[in-house]
């Protein structure tokens, strides 16, 4: 079909040659220079997992402080730094990178591609994420962590109310991190548009890929609002502009608008890929495809769009005209419909399938229960009158943990168990996994369900202490106990993964019987993923005998090459050569780090030096290869 040459090389020889071309040396240089999407994906998962652990410890400290009224474990300033870092890190340094890690490791495999469209950009994105995370967490150990809440409302975060470096870490750190997220998003979009296996037209793309692509488009449109807001705040704080200062004509509500234009889509940026994970896991354990595939696609797309039109529901109590609030209320309420479509599509999949109960499915069931409970309280917050009463109370804390922990962390853990064979070639212990599920599920609800009650009882958010005798004490104590149970459960998850990697049994090929292409590759996949580029004939290529048999017999695509296909119907177009490993992505990220540090410490010559270094590295990185003689003559 697409391979051009007709040399009669035996398949085994061709595969061995491929192996030679794609194999990475076990050396220090290759460790820093790798562009393999699977390695980068694993690094994203491990790094984001570490940040999850740190932000989780923050949360445990917060809960310990709040175990009883008038607690004195933390000082007010420590508490404020910790709750800010907990939120900021969980959103920016854990959730999105974790899901990007799954995307990195799996999207090319699911598409039947050999790597991401821009492998070096991919490596660059990882390094930037790592450095941004290190900057932000080191500020916590130096006692200058951001302390204005993850939402960083002005004027509290502007001069003269916030004088230290705390908020500079926040603004610069998030802009720096934004570079990584944007690069990742563009990479996912282009990979999914151009590198799908032949035959994988839009109506045959895996739901996980749909979710990642929808998410990536959201990133492109939402992140600029956050970056702009942070840049303007940085200018206000450092160079004396007045964007958020009412005395000089600025406006404080501007920050809230800009922040939430990013912030609400970001909730879905986190949840959508996690919902994609659920749709990817279910078929393997229900022995049938996800029900109502076109409706689930419809739901994914409409959620991505409508999520941009609900941001003002975070501002229902700011005193804006009720009418203008109601347009956002309407969208906030009706965005439930696409979420409902997905929930009932999963329920239908389980009802009409043959269920095999294994650990990943347990986490999916736990997810559905939790997510539905978070969803119904979400509808309540879409109603302006109710929101004005309950917002900024502990009820909100309960609600968004049901949505974000329930909606993202449960699928992430489920996905971890499900794809562990792809990621590491090992299987995790089923027994340990079930214990972990029980503790995580029980601990989660014990932690967060009581918060609904303390919220209804009038307990406000973000308080480092509270008086006794207001009926809040028992619920807070329960929450704290729950948080420790939850922590034990999460430790068990980590333990079972570590044990699996260290001494777990080698996974069989396709151990769960999954339906997407990552299971049609070897377990774990080779560096080139597929020797022959897969042919797709339906929604479930790994269950399709045509696809599987052709994978064994089709001609091997030789060399460091990938196949481009058409945007809508994935018709083969042409071969392109893929870049080799390179240190330049790391160098570029380091140069950018210098810029950020220079700005942070107000050492501007350092920042300028960093800019020059970045330009030098990028110019070298993108320098076009010299034309071959034949090409030069043809010109």
């Amino acid at each position: 079909m697409t391979t051009t040459s007709a040399q009669a090389v035996p398949r085994a020889v061709a595969v061995a040659r491929l192996e030679e071309q794609w194999r990475e040396q076990r050396s220090l240089r290759s460790w820093f220079a790798t562009v393999d999407h699977k390695r980068i994906g694993r690094r994203y998962l491990v790094t984001a997992g570490a940040f999850f652990g740190l932000a989780g410890i923050d949360a445990l400290l917060l809960r310990t402080q709040l175990a009883r009224a008038g607690g004195d474990v933390l000082s007010p300033d420590q508490y404020n730094q910790l709750f800010t870092m907990h939120g900021t890190a969980m959103i920016f340094l854990f959730a999105t990178p974790m899901l990007f890690g799954f995307g990195n490791a799996l999207v090319p495999l699911m598409l039947g591609a050999r790597d991401m469209a821009f492998p070096r950009l991919n490596a660059f994105g990882y390094w930037v994420f790592l450095f941004a995370g290190l900057i932000m967490f080191s500020s916590q150990f130096l006692g200058v962590a951001p302390n204005g809440g993850w939402f960083a409302y002005v004027p509290l975060t502007d001069l003269p109310y916030s004088l230290g470096r705390n908020l500079d870490v926040y603004t610069l750190g998030l802009i720096f991190l934004g570079v990584s997220t944007t690069a990742g998003a563009i990479n996912f979009i282009v990979t999914s548009i151009k590198l799908r296996a032949p035959g994988m037209s839009l109506n045959r793309a895996p739901l996980f890929v749909w979710a990642i692509v929808a998410t990536s488009f959201m990133v492109l449109f939402a992140l600029p609002a956050l970056n702009a807001a942070n840049a303007l705040l940085f200018l206000d704080r450092r160079f004396g502009t007045h964007f958020f200062q009412p005395d000089a004509g600025g406006n404080t509500l501007l920050w809230q608008h800009l922040f939430w234009i990013f912030g609400h889509p970001d909730v879905y940026i986190i949840v959508l890929p996690a919902l994609g994970i659920v749709s990817a896991i279910l078929p393997a354990f229900c022995r049938r495809g996800v029900a109502a595939y076109p409706l689930v696609v419809l739901a994914t797309i409409t959620i991505a769009i409508i999520s941009f039109g609900v941001w003002v529901h975070h501002m229902f109590a700011t005193g804006l005209p009720s009418l203008s609030l109601s347009f956002f209320s309407a969208a906030s309420v009706l965005i439930t419909i696409p979420s409902g479509i997905q929930v009932f599509a999963w329920v239908a999949t389980m009802l009409f399938g043959r269920i095999v109960v294994r650990v990943p499915l347990l986490f999916v069931v736990g997810f559905i229960v939790t997510f539905v409970m978070g969803g119904v309280t979400g509808v309540m917050f879409g109603i302006t009158a109710f929101d004005m009463q309950i917002t900024d109370s502990y009820f909100v804390v309960a609600h968004f943990h049901y949505v974000l922990f329930g909606g993202a962390v449960f699928p992430i853990i489920g996905g971890l168990y499900y794809w562990l064979p792809v990621l590491t070639g090992k299987m995790a212990s089923e027994v340990l996994g079930r214990w972990a599920f029980g503790l995580v599920f029980g601990g989660f609800h014990l932690t967060f369900f009581p918060m609904h009650l303390s919220g209804l009882l009038g307990m406000p958010r973000r308080v480092y202490t509270y008086p006794t005798g207001l009926g809040w004490d028992p619920w807070n104590l329960l929450s704290t106990i729950g948080s420790y149970v939850l922590a034990v459960g999460l430790l068990l998850v980590v333990l079972s993964v570590v044990l699996a990697v260290a001494r777990g049994p080698r996974a069989a090929v396709d151990p769960w019987g999954g339906d997407t292409l990552e299971w049609a590759a070897t377990t774990p996949p080779r560096p080139y993923n597929f020797a022959s580029i897969p042919q797709v004939f339906g929604l479930h290529p790994a269950w399709d005998r045509r696809t599987l048999s052709r994978l064994e017999t089709d001609e091997v695509l030789p060399g460091h090459q990938a196949l481009l296909t058409s945007e809508l119907d994935a018709r083969p177009q042409r071969l392109v050569s893929m870049p080799e490993a390179s240190l330049r992505p790391l160098l570029a990220a380091l140069a950018l780090l210098v810029v950020v540090l220079g700005l942070l410490w107000a050492v501007y010559w350092l920042a300028i030096a960093g800019v020059v270094a970045t330009i030098v590295v990028v110019v070298g990185w993108l320098w076009p290869p010299q034309l071959t003689r034949a090409e030069a003559e043809a010109a």
């Binding site: 300033d77 004027p155 309420v333 479509i341 009802l351 109603i383 302006t384 109710f386 009038g458 009926g471």
Partner: protein, 322 residues
């Protein structure tokens, strides 16, 4: 589910809590009704999903067929049709309640200005000749009170859960809300928007009184009656003036006219110190004056070098300010 109901009942019956389910104001009562409406719908929705999930998990023991097809009718009815009807109903009820919230009951109206500070509430009665207090609001029962909300520094939010949904205090803007209390009592309020270091200790008390009682109180607040001071109290006043407390605080009728800190004209009768940070008794007040940073770390009041020998006099003077 039963546990949920028991817990909610407990929540509703906990008398001392500033509970949104134990309301005394017209606005909050509206939202309480809205909550129960949405709560029961939510219970049904969650039960529906739980039952279907349970059925799916239970069924697998007997029935191992896989049904092909895309189940579009199932998803269409349960995932689109039913939710659509319910959501439209909820949105409609919500719109009705919002409309009620923005139209306070008519009647004689009183205006109060509430100004947010880091981290206390300044309360002014503009219809009187300078009635000012802090961290407490008194209002007459069964009347509509207009509240004008501004902030002196950062964003705050005015929330008295039992009376009215919250409204933010936005720098550079003037916001308005209203209270209409239907019964007599005291109701706790808080700052609900994170406002920095001592956001946790920024509470206030709304006392709802019969109209005559309220009128008498307001008259005394506006024009504090002359006080007969004992010898000790007079010495205390001298300490107060010597320690330059008046640079930040006002005690109307004296030389203290500062406006940075709360007006202390009625400090003796306030419900707490530091907007809920500590009870208002002699011991805490003395501790507060000598080192306010230990009771409410980070607040704007610096420690006062009042000699230990003068402290009892000062405290006995401050107690007279009622």
């Amino acid at each position: 589910m039963a546990a949920v109901l028991v817990a909610l009942c407990l929540a509703g019956c906990a008398g001392s809590a500033p509970s949104t389910l134990d309301t005394a104001g017209t606005g909050a009562r509206r939202v309480e009704g809205l909550w129960w409406f949405m709560f029961w719908i939510s219970v049904v929705a969650v039960l529906e999903v739980l039952l279907l999930l349970g059925w799916a998990l239970w069924r697998r023991r007997r029935d191992t067929r896989v049904r092909a097809g895309d189940a579009m009718p199932f998803v269409g009815v349960l995932g689109v049709g039913l939710p659509f009807i319910v959501l439209v109903a909820v949105y409609g009820v919500g719109l009705r309640d919002l409309n009620a919230l923005i139209r306070p009951p008519a009647g004689p109206e009183l205006s109060i200005e509430v100004i947010g500070h880091r981290w206390w509430w300044e309360v002014r009665y503009p219809d009187t000749a300078g009635a000012i207090t802090a961290n407490e609001i008194r209002i007459p029962v069964n009347q509509t009170i207009r509240i004008r909300l501004t902030t002196a520094d950062v964003q705050h939010s005015f929330w008295v859960p039992q009376l009215m949904p919250k409204t933010d205090l936005i720098a550079g803007r003037v916001n308005e809300t209203w209270l209409h209390a239907e019964r007599i009592g005291t109701f706790r309020g808080v700052c609900a928007e994170y406002c920095g270091l001592q956001h946790a200790n920024m509470s206030l008390i709304v006392t709802v009184q019969p109209e005559e009682e309220f009128t008498a109180w307001l008259r005394d607040l506006a024009a504090p009656p002359a006080r007969d001071l004992t010898e000790q109290q007079r010495r205390g006043q001298a300490v107060f003036e010597a320690a330059a407390c008046g640079a930040c605080h006002t005690v109307r009728g004296t030389t203290a006219t500062g406006t940075i800190g709360p007006d202390l004209t009625t400090i003796g009768s306030r419900w707490s110190l530091g907007a809920g940070a500590a009870p208002n008794d002699k011991g805490h007040l003395g501790g507060w004056i000598v080192n306010p940073q230990s009771l409410k770390p980070g607040n704007q009041m610096p420690p006062q070098p009042v000699p230990a020998s003068d402290l009892p006099d000062l405290l006995s003077y401050l107690e007279t300010l009622r």
